[in-house]
């Protein structure tokens, strides 16, 4: 099973069209391994992206601190239900 150690999900706030375009450029850079849960759309519309580690200078807040811990919690709940 693929694990996601220290992966975070960031909620990015883009202020204008230029920043939207900037994030779209990031989206195209595969080597960054960004996984967009909610892609860039319009200024004021939040963008959610899973990242291996925090980066970039665009304003963001951390939505999920540790994806893996949530996955493990979900697994534990499912196993508990089965048992």
């Amino acid at each position: 099973t693929l694990t996601l150690p220290r992966h975070q999900v960031l909620r990015i706030s883009v202020a204008d069209e230029a920043q939207v375009q900037k994030v779209k450029e990031l989206e195209d850079l595969e080597d960054l391994q960004l996984d967009f849960w909610r892609g860039p759309a319009h200024p004021g519309f939040p963008i959610d992206v899973r990242v291996p580690s925090p980066s970039h200078s665009i304003s963001y807040e951390t939505m999920i601190e540790d994806v893996q811990s949530l996955l493990e919690e979900e697994q534990e709940q499912m196993f508990a239900f089965r048992s």
Binding site: L4, V9, D35, R38, M63, I64, V67, L71, M78, F81
Partner: protein, 295 residues
Amino acid sequence: RARSTDTFNYATYHTLEEIYDFLDLLVEENPHLVSKIQIGNTYEGRPIYVLKVTSTWNTLLNGLPMQTFGKITQDYGQDAAFTAILDTMDIFLEIVTNPDGFAFTHSTNRMWRKTRSHTAGSLCIGVDPNRNWDAGFGLSGASSNPCSETYHGKFANSEVEVKSIVDFVKDHGNIKAFISIHSYSQLLMYPYGYKTEPVPDQDELDQLSKAAVTALASLYGTKFNYGSIIKAIYQASGSTIDWTYSQGIKYSFTFELRDTGRYGFLLPASQIIPTAKETWLALLTIMEHTLNHPY
């Protein structure tokens, strides 16, 4: 395996096998109300099922364990509005639209969202099933890169998971409402996604959306936005409801469910039931409108 739908735990996530077992339980417990239809097989050979709920045999319903069949059977015969709907229309439920992706999610990569088909000439796997429909296919709002999460596929309906529903809808020929449900973002949207032009039924769909999200918010206050896909979120081509609308299904909607707690694709299990309950109110509003506005 749960012994009955009574003992099934609705408040946790389940594997594909558990969900398919649950479908069988529903049919076993409600043979005159619910039937299971296999509409195809996935790329990896898993069956794709649709549940058909029909009141054709409603005179036999009194003897059924009503409390065991979730909201639909609970409300049939109890809730006047819903009873009228089911007395007139069948309801089809495709619980798992991407079984291969779902199984892969639970076994290997919880973040997986695409199908599992192989693309010739690429090491990347899978297609976004909501960019693979024959409506503005391949235009802006989908990716031609097989490694992208929004890869539209080689051609419209290239994914058997999509083609199976397409064939089912065409074969039925009389579907009046089609609702595609996704997580997350708290949106209720109608066509179009691939162009800015308003749909011919824009005013009615917008009013109905407003009524539906109002009903939804009445339970827990969860706020949803609504509008056409392209205006409410972003341009998306080859999407499901643009195709269903093009087939003459006026009441075509797509839901992005609640994001309370901001966990995105990892909605906490504690929110499954509240999400289902509030969403049901919106679904009921759309179904009731469909019943009262025949076309």
